[in-house]
Protein backbone atom coordinates (compact mmCIF):
# COMPACT_ATOMS: atom_id res chain seq x y z
CA UNK A 1 0.00 0.00 0.00
CA UNK A 2 1.38 3.39 -0.87
CA UNK A 3 1.96 5.96 1.80
CA UNK A 4 -0.86 8.36 1.06
CA UNK A 5 -3.70 5.84 1.39
CA UNK A 6 -2.07 4.51 4.54
CA UNK A 7 -1.91 7.98 6.02
CA UNK A 8 -5.55 8.60 5.20
CA UNK A 9 -6.57 5.35 6.83
CA UNK A 10 -4.59 6.25 9.92
CA UNK A 11 -6.25 9.64 10.11
CA UNK A 12 -9.67 8.03 9.83
CA UNK A 13 -8.81 5.61 12.64
CA UNK A 14 -7.47 8.52 14.68
CA UNK A 15 -10.68 10.46 14.15
CA UNK A 16 -12.66 7.43 15.27
CA UNK A 17 -10.50 7.04 18.38
CA UNK A 18 -10.98 10.68 19.26
CA UNK A 19 -14.69 10.59 18.70
CA UNK A 20 -14.96 7.41 20.71
CA UNK A 21 -13.05 8.95 23.59
CA UNK A 22 -15.31 11.99 23.57
CA UNK A 23 -18.33 9.73 23.64
CA UNK A 24 -17.17 8.00 26.83
CA UNK A 25 -17.64 11.32 28.55
CA UNK A 26 -14.93 10.90 31.17
CA UNK A 27 -11.78 12.98 30.87
CA UNK A 28 -9.76 10.20 32.51
CA UNK A 29 -9.75 8.42 29.15
CA UNK A 30 -7.82 11.32 27.71
CA UNK A 31 -5.30 11.35 30.53
CA UNK A 32 -4.61 7.65 30.24
CA UNK A 33 -4.78 7.66 26.46
CA UNK A 34 -2.28 10.50 26.23
CA UNK A 35 0.35 8.42 28.00
CA UNK A 36 -0.20 5.47 25.72
CA UNK A 37 -0.01 7.63 22.60
CA UNK A 38 3.12 9.28 23.92
CA UNK A 39 4.70 5.86 24.22
CA UNK A 40 3.62 4.96 20.70
CA UNK A 41 5.75 7.86 19.51
CA UNK A 42 8.64 7.08 21.86
CA UNK A 43 8.80 3.39 21.04
CA UNK A 44 8.41 3.99 17.30
CA UNK A 45 11.17 6.59 17.49
CA UNK A 46 13.42 4.29 19.49
CA UNK A 47 12.84 1.49 17.02
CA UNK A 48 14.19 3.50 14.11
CA UNK A 49 17.63 3.46 15.67
CA UNK A 50 17.30 0.38 17.84
CA UNK A 51 15.23 -2.06 15.84
CA UNK A 52 16.05 -1.04 12.30
CA UNK A 53 19.74 -0.24 12.78
CA UNK A 54 20.50 -2.36 15.80
CA UNK A 55 21.91 0.43 17.98
CA UNK A 56 20.42 0.37 21.47
CA UNK A 57 19.87 3.87 22.83
CA UNK A 58 19.41 4.17 26.59
CA UNK A 59 18.91 7.91 26.43
CA UNK A 60 15.23 8.08 25.52
CA UNK A 61 14.56 9.98 28.72
CA UNK A 62 17.11 12.61 27.80
CA UNK A 63 15.59 13.39 24.39
CA UNK A 64 12.13 13.35 25.86
CA UNK A 65 13.21 15.70 28.60
CA UNK A 66 14.92 18.06 26.16
CA UNK A 67 11.60 18.48 24.38
CA UNK A 68 9.85 19.09 27.68
CA UNK A 69 12.41 21.58 28.89
CA UNK A 70 12.34 23.47 25.61
CA UNK A 71 8.69 24.06 26.31
CA UNK A 72 9.47 25.17 29.85
CA UNK A 73 12.10 27.58 28.56
CA UNK A 74 9.62 29.08 26.14
CA UNK A 75 7.00 29.22 28.86
CA UNK A 76 9.35 31.12 31.17
CA UNK A 77 10.32 33.41 28.32
CA UNK A 78 6.69 34.30 27.77
CA UNK A 79 5.95 34.58 31.44
CA UNK A 80 8.85 36.92 32.07
CA UNK A 81 8.06 39.13 29.12
CA UNK A 82 4.28 39.06 29.30
CA UNK A 83 3.60 37.86 25.79
CA UNK A 84 0.19 36.35 25.07
CA UNK A 85 0.26 33.10 26.91
CA UNK A 86 -0.71 30.35 24.62
CA UNK A 87 1.83 28.95 22.19
CA UNK A 88 0.18 26.27 20.08
CA UNK A 89 1.37 22.75 20.81
CA UNK A 90 2.50 22.03 17.24
CA UNK A 91 4.90 24.95 17.45
CA UNK A 92 6.23 23.67 20.76
CA UNK A 93 6.62 20.26 19.20
CA UNK A 94 8.63 21.68 16.36
CA UNK A 95 10.92 23.53 18.74
CA UNK A 96 11.32 20.53 21.04
CA UNK A 97 11.88 18.31 18.06
CA UNK A 98 14.49 20.63 16.62
CA UNK A 99 16.43 20.83 19.87
CA UNK A 100 16.40 17.07 20.29
CA UNK A 101 17.32 16.58 16.65
CA UNK A 102 20.41 18.73 17.02
CA UNK A 103 21.41 16.91 20.19
CA UNK A 104 20.73 13.60 18.47
CA UNK A 105 22.99 14.57 15.62
CA UNK A 106 25.69 15.65 18.04
CA UNK A 107 25.37 12.48 20.06
CA UNK A 108 25.55 10.41 16.91
CA UNK A 109 28.65 12.19 15.79
CA UNK A 110 30.36 11.52 19.11
CA UNK A 111 29.27 7.95 19.63
CA UNK A 112 28.39 6.21 16.42
CA UNK A 113 31.90 5.14 15.65
CA UNK A 114 31.73 2.97 18.74
CA UNK A 115 30.94 -0.71 18.67
CA UNK A 116 27.44 -1.73 19.81
CA UNK A 117 27.79 -2.10 23.58
CA UNK A 118 30.01 0.97 23.89
CA UNK A 119 27.51 3.01 21.96
CA UNK A 120 24.76 2.03 24.37
CA UNK A 121 26.84 2.86 27.41
CA UNK A 122 27.77 6.19 25.84
CA UNK A 123 24.09 7.05 25.38
CA UNK A 124 23.60 6.39 29.07
CA UNK A 125 26.50 8.67 29.90
CA UNK A 126 25.21 11.40 27.64
CA UNK A 127 21.78 11.24 29.22
CA UNK A 128 23.25 11.83 32.67
CA UNK A 129 25.46 14.66 31.48
CA UNK A 130 22.46 16.36 29.88
CA UNK A 131 20.43 15.87 33.03
CA UNK A 132 23.18 17.40 35.15
CA UNK A 133 23.33 20.42 32.85
CA UNK A 134 19.58 20.97 33.05
CA UNK A 135 19.47 20.45 36.81
CA UNK A 136 22.04 23.18 37.20
CA UNK A 137 20.23 25.61 34.93
CA UNK A 138 18.12 27.72 37.24
CA UNK A 139 16.22 29.46 34.47
CA UNK A 140 14.14 26.34 33.96
CA UNK A 141 13.84 25.66 37.65
CA UNK A 142 16.86 23.45 38.19
CA UNK A 143 16.43 20.68 40.68
CA UNK A 144 13.44 22.38 42.25
CA UNK A 145 11.43 21.68 39.15
CA UNK A 146 9.18 23.90 37.10
CA UNK A 147 5.51 24.70 37.29
CA UNK A 148 3.55 25.13 34.10
CA UNK A 149 0.01 26.33 34.26
CA UNK A 150 -2.34 24.52 31.97
CA UNK A 151 -4.94 26.68 30.25
CA UNK A 152 -8.46 25.84 31.42
CA UNK A 153 -10.68 25.50 28.44
CA UNK A 154 -10.35 25.88 24.73
CA UNK A 155 -13.13 26.80 22.33
CA UNK A 156 -14.67 23.87 20.42
CA UNK A 157 -12.67 21.15 22.09
CA UNK A 158 -13.44 21.66 25.72
CA UNK A 159 -10.89 20.80 28.40
CA UNK A 160 -7.22 21.28 27.59
CA UNK A 161 -6.40 17.63 28.05
CA UNK A 162 -8.52 16.82 25.04
CA UNK A 163 -6.43 19.19 22.97
CA UNK A 164 -3.24 17.56 24.24
CA UNK A 165 -4.66 14.12 23.46
CA UNK A 166 -5.55 15.16 19.94
CA UNK A 167 -2.10 16.61 19.31
CA UNK A 168 -0.39 13.49 20.56
CA UNK A 169 -2.75 11.38 18.44
CA UNK A 170 -1.69 13.27 15.33
CA UNK A 171 1.98 12.98 16.29
CA UNK A 172 1.54 9.23 16.73
CA UNK A 173 0.02 8.98 13.25
CA UNK A 174 2.96 10.96 11.88
CA UNK A 175 5.48 8.77 13.68
CA UNK A 176 3.95 5.54 12.43
CA UNK A 177 3.69 6.85 8.87
CA UNK A 178 7.31 7.98 8.84
CA UNK A 179 8.44 4.70 10.33
CA UNK A 180 6.56 2.72 7.72
CA UNK A 181 7.79 4.92 4.90
CA UNK A 182 11.38 4.37 5.98
CA UNK A 183 10.93 0.64 6.38
CA UNK A 184 9.90 0.17 2.77
CA UNK A 185 12.38 2.60 1.28
CA UNK A 186 16.00 2.31 0.29
CA UNK A 187 16.86 3.93 3.61
CA UNK A 188 15.16 1.08 5.44
CA UNK A 189 17.17 -1.48 3.53
CA UNK A 190 20.31 0.41 4.38
CA UNK A 191 19.33 0.38 8.05
CA UNK A 192 18.80 -3.38 7.89
CA UNK A 193 22.26 -3.96 6.49
CA UNK A 194 23.74 -1.93 9.31
CA UNK A 195 21.90 -4.15 11.74
CA UNK A 196 22.95 -7.36 10.02
CA UNK A 197 26.57 -6.72 9.16
CA UNK A 198 28.01 -3.26 9.13
CA UNK A 199 31.30 -4.27 7.56
CA UNK A 200 29.59 -5.99 4.65
CA UNK A 201 27.28 -3.01 4.32
CA UNK A 202 30.21 -0.66 3.86
CA UNK A 203 31.75 -3.02 1.34
CA UNK A 204 28.48 -2.95 -0.59
CA UNK A 205 28.55 0.81 -0.82
CA UNK A 206 26.26 1.71 2.07
CA UNK A 207 27.37 4.97 3.73
CA UNK A 208 26.87 3.57 7.22
CA UNK A 209 27.89 6.58 9.27
CA UNK A 210 25.61 8.90 7.33
CA UNK A 211 22.66 6.54 7.68
CA UNK A 212 23.26 6.09 11.38
CA UNK A 213 23.34 9.84 11.85
CA UNK A 214 20.04 10.13 10.02
CA UNK A 215 18.59 7.49 12.32
CA UNK A 216 19.78 9.17 15.52
CA UNK A 217 18.65 12.60 14.42
CA UNK A 218 15.21 11.43 13.35
CA UNK A 219 14.80 9.26 16.41
CA UNK A 220 15.84 12.10 18.70
CA UNK A 221 13.59 14.57 16.94
CA UNK A 222 10.50 12.41 17.39
CA UNK A 223 11.29 11.81 21.04
CA UNK A 224 11.69 15.53 21.57
CA UNK A 225 8.38 16.18 19.88
CA UNK A 226 6.74 13.67 22.20
CA UNK A 227 8.21 15.48 25.18
CA UNK A 228 7.21 19.00 24.18
CA UNK A 229 3.59 18.92 25.44
CA UNK A 230 4.54 17.02 28.60
CA UNK A 231 4.89 20.03 30.94
CA UNK A 232 1.31 21.03 30.13
CA UNK A 233 0.16 17.50 30.76
CA UNK A 234 1.85 17.06 34.09
CA UNK A 235 1.79 20.58 35.42
CA UNK A 236 4.94 20.19 37.50
CA UNK A 237 8.13 19.05 35.85
CA UNK A 238 10.93 17.43 37.81
CA UNK A 239 14.32 16.59 36.29
CA UNK A 240 14.98 13.20 37.82
CA UNK A 241 11.66 11.69 36.89
CA UNK A 242 11.70 13.21 33.42
CA UNK A 243 15.24 12.17 32.58
CA UNK A 244 14.85 8.83 34.27
CA UNK A 245 15.51 5.36 33.01
CA UNK A 246 11.80 4.58 33.14
CA UNK A 247 11.35 6.08 29.70
CA UNK A 248 14.27 4.06 28.42
CA UNK A 249 13.00 0.75 29.69
CA UNK A 250 9.54 1.31 28.27
CA UNK A 251 10.72 2.50 24.87
CA UNK A 252 12.98 -0.54 24.67
CA UNK A 253 10.51 -3.08 25.99
CA UNK A 254 7.61 -2.09 23.77
CA UNK A 255 9.36 -2.64 20.43
CA UNK A 256 11.06 -5.80 21.68
CA UNK A 257 7.73 -7.22 22.78
CA UNK A 258 5.93 -6.16 19.62
CA UNK A 259 8.66 -6.86 17.11
CA UNK A 260 11.63 -4.74 16.08
CA UNK A 261 11.96 -5.14 12.35
CA UNK A 262 8.74 -3.44 11.37
CA UNK A 263 6.64 -0.35 12.13
CA UNK A 264 3.80 -2.46 13.50
CA UNK A 265 5.88 -3.97 16.29
CA UNK A 266 6.28 -0.87 18.47
CA UNK A 267 2.59 -0.05 18.00
CA UNK A 268 1.45 -3.49 19.14
CA UNK A 269 3.94 -3.56 21.98
CA UNK A 270 2.88 -0.14 23.21
CA UNK A 271 -0.83 -0.82 23.06
CA UNK A 272 -0.34 -4.06 24.94
CA UNK A 273 2.16 -2.94 27.54
CA UNK A 274 0.77 0.56 27.87
CA UNK A 275 -2.74 -0.62 28.55
CA UNK A 276 -1.45 -3.23 30.97
CA UNK A 277 0.44 -0.55 32.86
CA UNK A 278 -2.54 1.77 33.06
CA UNK A 279 -4.68 -1.04 34.42
CA UNK A 280 -2.00 -2.03 36.93
CA UNK A 281 -1.57 1.53 38.13
CA UNK A 282 -5.26 1.84 38.83
CA UNK A 283 -5.83 -1.58 40.35
CA UNK A 284 -2.58 -2.36 42.20
CA UNK A 285 0.01 0.40 42.44
CA UNK A 286 2.20 2.42 40.16
CA UNK A 287 5.42 0.77 41.34
CA UNK A 288 4.25 -2.56 39.96
CA UNK A 289 4.30 -1.02 36.47
CA UNK A 290 8.02 -1.29 36.08
CA UNK A 291 8.05 -4.79 37.49
CA UNK A 292 5.62 -5.84 34.77
CA UNK A 293 7.74 -4.17 32.13
CA UNK A 294 10.87 -5.85 33.44
CA UNK A 295 9.30 -9.30 33.49
CA UNK A 296 7.68 -9.01 30.08
CA UNK A 297 10.89 -7.67 28.60
CA UNK A 298 12.95 -10.54 29.96
CA UNK A 299 10.29 -13.07 29.03
CA UNK A 300 9.90 -11.95 25.44
CA UNK A 301 13.56 -11.48 24.85
CA UNK A 302 14.22 -15.06 25.90
CA UNK A 303 11.17 -16.84 24.55
CA UNK A 304 10.06 -14.78 21.56
CA UNK A 305 13.05 -12.75 20.36
CA UNK A 306 11.17 -11.51 17.32
CA UNK A 307 8.27 -10.28 19.33
CA UNK A 308 4.60 -10.73 18.71
CA UNK A 309 5.04 -9.96 15.03
CA UNK A 310 7.57 -12.75 14.85
CA UNK A 311 5.22 -15.18 16.56
CA UNK A 312 2.43 -14.31 14.15
CA UNK A 313 4.70 -14.89 11.18
CA UNK A 314 5.89 -18.22 12.49
CA UNK A 315 2.49 -19.67 13.20
CA UNK A 316 0.33 -18.04 10.57
CA UNK A 317 2.41 -17.84 7.46
CA UNK A 318 4.98 -20.50 8.20
CA UNK A 319 7.71 -18.15 7.07
CA UNK A 320 10.98 -17.71 8.98
CA UNK A 321 10.35 -15.41 11.90
CA UNK A 322 12.82 -12.67 11.00
CA UNK A 323 11.59 -12.19 7.49
CA UNK A 324 9.14 -9.43 6.96
CA UNK A 325 8.13 -9.39 3.33
CA UNK A 326 9.67 -6.62 1.38
CA UNK A 327 8.70 -6.37 -2.18
CA UNK A 328 9.28 -3.29 -4.14
CA UNK A 329 11.88 -0.76 -3.25
CA UNK A 330 11.58 2.46 -5.15
CA UNK A 331 14.96 3.59 -6.34
CA UNK A 332 13.42 6.93 -7.17
CA UNK A 333 11.07 7.24 -4.22
CA UNK A 334 11.39 10.12 -1.74
CA UNK A 335 13.23 8.03 0.83
CA UNK A 336 16.00 7.23 -1.62
CA UNK A 337 18.10 10.27 -0.89
CA UNK A 338 21.32 9.08 0.90
Amino acid sequence: MRTLPFLLICLVVAAAVFAGSLAIGNDYVFFAGYVILQYVVLSTAWNILGGYCGYVNFGTGAFFALGAYSTVAIYKLIENNEFPHIVPIPVLMLVGGAVSAVVGLGMGYLTLRLRGAFFSIATLALAVVLETLVVNWDYVGGSRGAYVIRPEQLPLIGSYIRYLFLMMLLLAVAAITISRLIEHSRLGYGFATIRDDELAAEASGVPTLRLKLIATTLSGALMGMAGAPFPYYIGYLQPDSTFGLDYAVNSIAMPLIGGTTTWVGPLIGTLLLGTLQQVATVTISSAVNLLIVGFLLVFFVIVAPNGIVGLVHTYWQRKPAEFVGRRHVDADAPGAVP
Binding site: A192, T193, D197, P207, A331, D332
Partner: protein, 252 residues
Protein backbone atom coordinates in the same frame (compact mmCIF):
# COMPACT_ATOMS: atom_id res chain seq x y z
CA UNK B 1 25.47 -7.26 -19.39
CA UNK B 2 28.97 -5.89 -19.38
CA UNK B 3 30.91 -4.71 -16.43
CA UNK B 4 32.52 -1.33 -16.61
CA UNK B 5 35.68 -1.66 -18.71
CA UNK B 6 38.70 -0.88 -16.56
CA UNK B 7 39.82 2.71 -16.37
CA UNK B 8 43.47 3.64 -16.18
CA UNK B 9 45.74 6.00 -14.34
CA UNK B 10 48.46 7.97 -16.07
CA UNK B 11 50.74 4.96 -16.43
CA UNK B 12 47.94 2.56 -17.34
CA UNK B 13 47.62 0.80 -14.01
CA UNK B 14 44.25 0.38 -12.41
CA UNK B 15 45.56 -0.33 -8.93
CA UNK B 16 48.82 0.98 -7.60
CA UNK B 17 50.12 0.14 -4.16
CA UNK B 18 53.22 1.98 -3.00
CA UNK B 19 55.18 0.89 0.05
CA UNK B 20 52.19 -0.14 2.04
CA UNK B 21 52.79 -0.90 5.70
CA UNK B 22 50.42 -1.99 8.46
CA UNK B 23 51.11 -2.82 12.09
CA UNK B 24 48.91 -4.08 14.87
CA UNK B 25 50.60 -2.75 17.97
CA UNK B 26 54.06 -4.30 17.84
CA UNK B 27 53.18 -6.86 15.22
CA UNK B 28 54.13 -5.96 11.65
CA UNK B 29 51.42 -7.40 9.44
CA UNK B 30 52.54 -5.83 6.18
CA UNK B 31 55.84 -4.28 5.25
CA UNK B 32 56.87 -2.40 2.15
CA UNK B 33 54.25 -3.83 -0.16
CA UNK B 34 54.43 -2.39 -3.65
CA UNK B 35 52.23 -3.72 -6.38
CA UNK B 36 50.73 -2.54 -9.64
CA UNK B 37 47.77 -4.13 -11.33
CA UNK B 38 46.85 -3.23 -14.88
CA UNK B 39 43.30 -3.07 -16.12
CA UNK B 40 41.95 -6.42 -17.23
CA UNK B 41 44.61 -8.47 -15.44
CA UNK B 42 44.10 -11.82 -13.76
CA UNK B 43 46.29 -11.68 -10.70
CA UNK B 44 46.74 -14.47 -8.22
CA UNK B 45 47.82 -13.67 -4.67
CA UNK B 46 49.11 -16.53 -2.59
CA UNK B 47 50.98 -17.07 0.63
CA UNK B 48 50.96 -19.19 3.77
CA UNK B 49 48.35 -18.61 6.44
CA UNK B 50 48.96 -15.43 8.35
CA UNK B 51 51.14 -13.91 5.65
CA UNK B 52 48.94 -10.84 5.46
CA UNK B 53 46.79 -11.46 2.40
CA UNK B 54 43.50 -10.56 4.02
CA UNK B 55 45.11 -7.63 5.80
CA UNK B 56 46.26 -6.35 2.44
CA UNK B 57 42.76 -6.65 1.04
CA UNK B 58 41.34 -4.85 4.06
CA UNK B 59 43.81 -2.02 3.61
CA UNK B 60 43.07 -1.68 -0.09
CA UNK B 61 39.32 -1.69 0.49
CA UNK B 62 39.35 0.66 3.43
CA UNK B 63 38.22 -1.69 6.17
CA UNK B 64 41.59 -1.13 7.82
CA UNK B 65 43.78 1.95 7.66
CA UNK B 66 47.37 1.50 6.64
CA UNK B 67 49.93 3.61 8.45
CA UNK B 68 52.45 3.74 5.69
CA UNK B 69 52.34 3.92 1.96
CA UNK B 70 49.59 4.82 -0.43
CA UNK B 71 47.03 3.11 -2.58
CA UNK B 72 45.87 4.60 -5.86
CA UNK B 73 42.89 3.29 -7.74
CA UNK B 74 41.91 4.44 -11.18
CA UNK B 75 44.26 7.38 -10.78
CA UNK B 76 42.80 8.47 -7.44
CA UNK B 77 44.47 8.36 -4.06
CA UNK B 78 42.40 6.25 -1.71
CA UNK B 79 43.79 7.64 1.54
CA UNK B 80 41.11 8.82 3.90
CA UNK B 81 38.29 7.39 1.84
CA UNK B 82 35.75 5.22 3.64
CA UNK B 83 35.11 1.69 2.50
CA UNK B 84 31.79 2.55 0.91
CA UNK B 85 33.38 5.37 -1.06
CA UNK B 86 35.99 2.98 -2.43
CA UNK B 87 33.28 0.55 -3.44
CA UNK B 88 31.53 3.36 -5.28
CA UNK B 89 34.74 4.04 -7.18
CA UNK B 90 34.61 0.53 -8.57
CA UNK B 91 36.54 -1.53 -6.04
CA UNK B 92 34.67 -4.60 -4.81
CA UNK B 93 35.61 -7.53 -2.66
CA UNK B 94 34.10 -10.72 -1.43
CA UNK B 95 34.77 -11.81 2.13
CA UNK B 96 36.75 -14.89 3.08
CA UNK B 97 34.00 -16.01 5.44
CA UNK B 98 30.78 -15.07 3.64
CA UNK B 99 28.96 -12.20 5.32
CA UNK B 100 25.47 -12.12 3.88
CA UNK B 101 22.78 -9.88 5.29
CA UNK B 102 21.07 -12.52 7.35
CA UNK B 103 17.64 -10.95 7.72
CA UNK B 104 17.29 -10.08 4.03
CA UNK B 105 16.34 -12.42 1.18
CA UNK B 106 18.90 -13.27 -1.48
CA UNK B 107 17.22 -10.87 -3.85
CA UNK B 108 17.43 -8.10 -1.26
CA UNK B 109 21.07 -8.95 -0.61
CA UNK B 110 21.76 -8.26 -4.27
CA UNK B 111 19.59 -5.14 -4.29
CA UNK B 112 21.73 -3.45 -1.67
CA UNK B 113 24.82 -2.87 -3.82
CA UNK B 114 22.55 -2.10 -6.75
CA UNK B 115 20.75 0.62 -4.81
CA UNK B 116 23.68 1.98 -2.92
CA UNK B 117 26.57 1.72 -5.32
CA UNK B 118 25.25 1.46 -8.84
CA UNK B 119 22.27 3.75 -8.46
CA UNK B 120 24.44 6.19 -6.52
CA UNK B 121 26.80 6.38 -9.47
CA UNK B 122 23.86 7.27 -11.66
CA UNK B 123 24.25 4.21 -13.84
CA UNK B 124 20.72 2.96 -13.38
CA UNK B 125 17.69 5.08 -12.80
CA UNK B 126 14.55 3.09 -12.25
CA UNK B 127 13.09 0.37 -10.11
CA UNK B 128 12.61 -1.79 -13.18
CA UNK B 129 16.32 -1.68 -13.98
CA UNK B 130 17.18 -2.66 -10.42
CA UNK B 131 14.86 -5.64 -10.61
CA UNK B 132 16.22 -6.71 -13.99
CA UNK B 133 19.80 -6.62 -12.85
CA UNK B 134 18.91 -8.38 -9.64
CA UNK B 135 17.32 -11.24 -11.56
CA UNK B 136 20.17 -11.37 -14.01
CA UNK B 137 22.83 -11.57 -11.33
CA UNK B 138 21.05 -14.29 -9.42
CA UNK B 139 20.71 -16.13 -12.71
CA UNK B 140 24.41 -15.79 -13.46
CA UNK B 141 25.25 -17.60 -10.24
CA UNK B 142 22.39 -20.06 -10.52
CA UNK B 143 20.53 -18.83 -7.45
CA UNK B 144 17.42 -17.51 -9.11
CA UNK B 145 15.24 -20.26 -7.72
CA UNK B 146 16.13 -19.27 -4.16
CA UNK B 147 15.68 -15.54 -4.66
CA UNK B 148 13.10 -15.20 -1.89
CA UNK B 149 14.90 -17.39 0.62
CA UNK B 150 17.11 -16.31 3.45
CA UNK B 151 20.88 -16.84 3.43
CA UNK B 152 20.66 -19.43 6.18
CA UNK B 153 18.84 -21.74 3.78
CA UNK B 154 21.87 -21.88 1.50
CA UNK B 155 24.57 -24.50 1.13
CA UNK B 156 28.26 -23.67 1.45
CA UNK B 157 28.88 -23.17 -2.25
CA UNK B 158 25.63 -21.23 -2.66
CA UNK B 159 26.77 -18.82 0.05
CA UNK B 160 30.04 -18.32 -1.77
CA UNK B 161 28.16 -17.63 -4.96
CA UNK B 162 25.90 -15.15 -3.22
CA UNK B 163 28.98 -13.47 -1.82
CA UNK B 164 30.46 -13.16 -5.31
CA UNK B 165 27.16 -12.08 -6.84
CA UNK B 166 26.88 -9.33 -4.28
CA UNK B 167 30.36 -8.10 -5.14
CA UNK B 168 29.54 -8.30 -8.83
CA UNK B 169 26.35 -6.33 -8.33
CA UNK B 170 28.43 -3.29 -7.45
CA UNK B 171 29.67 -3.23 -11.08
CA UNK B 172 33.28 -3.20 -10.06
CA UNK B 173 36.26 -2.36 -12.19
CA UNK B 174 38.35 -4.48 -9.86
CA UNK B 175 37.09 -7.48 -7.94
CA UNK B 176 39.09 -9.04 -5.14
CA UNK B 177 37.93 -12.60 -4.47
CA UNK B 178 39.20 -13.58 -1.02
CA UNK B 179 39.42 -17.36 -0.74
CA UNK B 180 36.12 -17.85 -2.47
CA UNK B 181 36.73 -21.54 -3.02
CA UNK B 182 37.81 -22.93 0.32
CA UNK B 183 36.05 -26.16 1.18
CA UNK B 184 34.42 -26.63 -2.21
CA UNK B 185 34.40 -29.74 -4.38
CA UNK B 186 36.21 -30.05 -7.68
CA UNK B 187 33.19 -29.23 -9.82
CA UNK B 188 32.14 -26.40 -7.52
CA UNK B 189 35.57 -24.85 -7.89
CA UNK B 190 35.20 -25.09 -11.65
CA UNK B 191 31.87 -23.26 -11.43
CA UNK B 192 33.42 -20.38 -9.53
CA UNK B 193 36.40 -20.21 -11.87
CA UNK B 194 34.11 -20.11 -14.89
CA UNK B 195 32.20 -17.28 -13.30
CA UNK B 196 35.37 -15.31 -12.64
CA UNK B 197 36.66 -15.93 -16.15
CA UNK B 198 33.43 -14.68 -17.61
CA UNK B 199 33.65 -11.56 -15.51
CA UNK B 200 37.19 -10.98 -16.61
CA UNK B 201 36.16 -11.36 -20.26
CA UNK B 202 33.67 -8.56 -19.66
CA UNK B 203 36.50 -6.30 -18.61
CA UNK B 204 36.65 -6.72 -14.85
CA UNK B 205 40.14 -6.92 -13.35
CA UNK B 206 40.36 -9.82 -10.92
CA UNK B 207 42.64 -10.44 -7.98
CA UNK B 208 42.25 -14.01 -6.82
CA UNK B 209 43.41 -14.89 -3.33
CA UNK B 210 43.53 -18.63 -2.89
CA UNK B 211 45.16 -21.60 -1.27
CA UNK B 212 43.98 -24.08 -3.87
CA UNK B 213 47.03 -24.10 -6.14
CA UNK B 214 45.37 -25.82 -9.07
CA UNK B 215 42.75 -23.05 -9.27
CA UNK B 216 45.31 -20.27 -8.89
CA UNK B 217 47.65 -21.70 -11.50
CA UNK B 218 44.94 -22.23 -14.08
CA UNK B 219 43.29 -18.87 -13.58
CA UNK B 220 46.13 -16.42 -12.99
CA UNK B 221 48.24 -14.82 -15.68
CA UNK B 222 50.45 -13.32 -12.99
CA UNK B 223 51.28 -14.50 -9.52
CA UNK B 224 52.28 -12.56 -6.40
CA UNK B 225 53.54 -14.31 -3.29
CA UNK B 226 53.25 -12.86 0.19
CA UNK B 227 55.21 -14.31 3.11
CA UNK B 228 55.23 -12.83 6.62
CA UNK B 229 53.92 -9.53 5.39
CA UNK B 230 56.43 -9.10 2.56
CA UNK B 231 56.14 -9.58 -1.15
CA UNK B 232 58.74 -12.14 -2.16
CA UNK B 233 57.78 -12.89 -5.74
CA UNK B 234 55.88 -11.31 -8.60
CA UNK B 235 55.72 -12.67 -12.11
CA UNK B 236 54.49 -15.40 -14.44
CA UNK B 237 53.00 -18.29 -12.48
CA UNK B 238 55.40 -21.03 -13.62
CA UNK B 239 58.45 -18.89 -13.03
CA UNK B 240 57.24 -17.87 -9.59
CA UNK B 241 56.56 -21.43 -8.52
CA UNK B 242 60.09 -22.40 -9.49
CA UNK B 243 61.56 -19.54 -7.47
CA UNK B 244 63.67 -21.13 -4.67
CA UNK B 245 62.51 -18.59 -2.09
CA UNK B 246 58.88 -19.42 -2.81
CA UNK B 247 59.64 -23.12 -2.56
CA UNK B 248 61.25 -22.58 0.79
CA UNK B 249 58.29 -20.59 2.05
CA UNK B 250 55.88 -23.35 1.19
CA UNK B 251 57.92 -26.43 1.85
CA UNK B 252 60.74 -25.35 4.14
Amino acid sequence: MSGIAGGASSNGDLLQIDNLGKRFGGFVALENISLSVAAGERLGLIGPNGSGKSTLVNCICGTLRNEQGAVRFDGRKLDGLEAHQRTRLGLARSFQLPRPFASLTLADNIRIPLLYTVAARGIIHSTREVEERCHHLLGEVGLEAKAQRLPRDLTQVEMRKLELARAMAALPKLLIADEAMAGLTHSEIEEILTLLSRLNAQGVTIILIEHIMRAVMSFSRRLVVLVSGRKIADGAPEAVMRDPEVERAYLG
